[in-house]
Amino acid sequence: MFKKRIIAGIFGLAAMSAGASDASAETIKLALIEGLSGPFAANGQAALREYEFAADYFINSKGGVNGGTKVEFLGLDNKTSPKESLIQLKNAIGQGARFVFQGNSSGVAHAIVDGVNKHNERNPDEKVLYINYAAVDPALTNDSCSFWHFRFDPNADQKMFAITEVIAKRADIKKIYLIGQDYSFGKAVAAAARLYLSQKRPDIEIVGDELHPIGKVKDFTPYVTKIKASGADAVITGNWGSDMVNLARASVDVGVTADFFTYYAAGTGITAAIGEAGKNRIRVVSEDHRNPPGSSAWIDYMKAFKAKYPENDLVYPRVATAIAMLANAMNAAKSTDPQKVAMALEGMEYTRLDGTKVKMRASDHQIQMPLNISVHTNEDITWDYDNSGYGTHVESTIPADKVELPTSCKMERPS
């Protein structure tokens, strides 16, 4: 009896899903390839949540793009590994997705750019477009640039340029320690820090330049002990995900009093881990502008997200920008053909929900936008992270034209 019921249930489900796919003839698939399990699962899951939300907010709830085409996100787990990503890329294409999204880990991003380039060359009839929203290795929009890749996050050089603008004005910082993850992104951060510090503050001594294995170190105490022993006034790190949480936690325990300039020390548990100990000492560079919140449109968006996911924070504000610009490009191209959409995205200007103007630079497909340096605090925080009462408050803004850096990209466009 019970077994029969289960079987009937399975058939029922199958029938339902078959019905759903019939009704969604006007739905196109977008694939998010991220580490949805493993050490960086929190970031991958956050991205999937925010993409699904943004797709509903900007596209599906407004009747779709091009007068009725709706979108649906596929979440594909690559375990943050380049090799698995290529398998998932094939999987995504096999399932009919022509737009691929990825952001966590530049190592993965390089693999996907490569995979997409090759695929498009071999299959001119089913081209694929890659939307990168967080992999910020500068090479992706310089020497390794591709027509099929668009980056919606300022790259590591731009972010470091903004950080060093702030450090340049801090006469109290004389010694800096660099620590990062041992892969292309961590190395890019360290190289950019050395370059811009030597230009803007040649007097600063770099007392440590360390790379640790990505996602493997659980207790950062030995590293933090070295930072402490070096007498550094400030630490620069590009660490993200669990590597940032654990670095912050160990720094709090050992009692590091240096200032931290970071790329990603906010949200997904990091803010809660830092807590009171990091107040006014931890800074983050990003496009984020939630405290003080900008326009009412941005507040509405964050409120709608929080209403749907009270336990989670919006950690990738640029996901909203990426989806909104993609929708605009599809509408402008009157098509969902990846090549036509890519043509429409080139040079596109857009006003973000918070009122900031951004532009997708055509020469290298790198978005240009102002960068904010925000500080970790619990004062004047309307939108906190991790429900901890702490959040990031914008301290200074570096305008877009100042962080617009030259590119070495020689783009090959399809004819």
Partner: protein, 316 residues
């Protein structure tokens, strides 16, 4: 340099003893039942998650007591109602069973607690620097971890060597049939050992969660190291597990603290390579960069030169 030495030694010991708490259970279970429990580190993870949940409701200290107990009871029930049946089908079936169990437990924790790292905090009572040396703090919580681990080791040692229960356990390890004939309930001894082993893993998780992080991948991350410890120390040897844990803990911590590379060593003996040498990346790789690889390197070396492990007696 002196401060890095002292702190590396302290931190390495804390980490090493934590590894011991995990590997002692694993090695006990292996020596008695012949089961290489792949899901052992999952019980460590469960300990951390239960500790976190209990601590967020009624405080850290009740969590410290109840979380390992719950994990231990779960372990015992698992042995009684699942593993014992699988046991009939041989060791391969057991191995695959525990292997699958590890994945199941990881997925279940994600299902119940989500994929984010949990904000599991140590007790506020121990939230102060125990002492400050060269301007760096040694957290009281780490000293507490140290004490608990040493206590567990001494307790295990006393129980196994000085009590009647320990006598029966030791006998059951080598001669289970004989012990059964003498009227002891060997299946019960197995169940209890499995329960105590998993409870130890749970305790390790409960006290390590606030320091090492409480997240779904934690079992996976530590699981492989624990196997290295058990194999390195010798399967089934408690003393071996202790020595191997401390060795791996201290060596790994020191490796992070010392910024040396092969090229530094080569320079001292008068050999140097140009910066564009095709192996330049390997020469300049520093110890901290390879620190996490060291345990696995040790594993391979011991398997080549002494396959039974440091203190092991049988070749398995």
């Amino acid at each position: 340099m002196l401060e890095i030495t002292i702190f590396s030694l302290l931190n390495g010991t804390v980490y090493g003893l934590l590894l011991f708490m995990l590997s002692s259970g694993l090695t006990l279970i292996f020596s008695m039942m012949g089961i290489l429990n792949f899901a052992h580190a999952s019980f460590y993870m469960l300990g951390a998650y239960f500790g976190y949940t209990i601590s967020s409701h009624i405080g850290f200290w009740p969590g410290l007591i109840f979380a390992p107990l719950i994990v231990g009871v779960m372990g015992a029930l698992l042995e009684r109602y699942a593993l014992r049946h699988v046991h009939k089908h041989g060791h391969v079936a057991e191995l695959i069973f525990t292997f699958g169990l590890a994945f199941l437990l990881e997925e279940l924790t994600q299902f119940f607690w989500g994929t984010d790292q949990q904000a599991y905090k140590g007790p506020s009572l121990l939230d102060f620097p125990l002492f400050t040396l060269f301007d760096a703090n040694f957290p009281a919580y780490k000293a507490f971890m140290l004490l608990i681990s040493i206590g567990i080791f001494l307790g295990l040692l006393l129980v196994l060597t000085r009590t009647r229960v320990g006598l029966i356990i030791q006998a059951a390890i080598t001669h289970p049939n004989m012990v059964n004939m003498l009227g002891h309930n060997v299946p019960f001894v197995f169940m209890a050992t499995f329960g105590v082993g998993t409870a130890l893993a749970g305790l390790a998780g409960t006290i390590a969660g606030p320091v090492m992080g409480t997240y779904p991948g934690m079992a996976h991350d530590l699981g492989s190291i624990v196997f290295v410890v058990v194999v390195f120390g010798g399967l089934g040897s408690l003393a071996g597990a202790l020595v191997a844990s401390l060795m791996i803990g201290i060596i790994q911590t020191f490796a992070v603290g010392l910024n040396y590379s092969v090229s530094d060593f080569l320079v001292t003996i008068g050999v140097s390579f140009p910066a564009d040498h095709f192996l330049h990346d390997i020469w300049t790789m520093t110890l901290p960069q390879v620190a996490p690889l060291i345990p696995y390197l040790m594993l391979i070396l011991i398997l080549i030169f002494r396959p039974m492990g440091l203190f092991g007696t049988r070749e398995t």
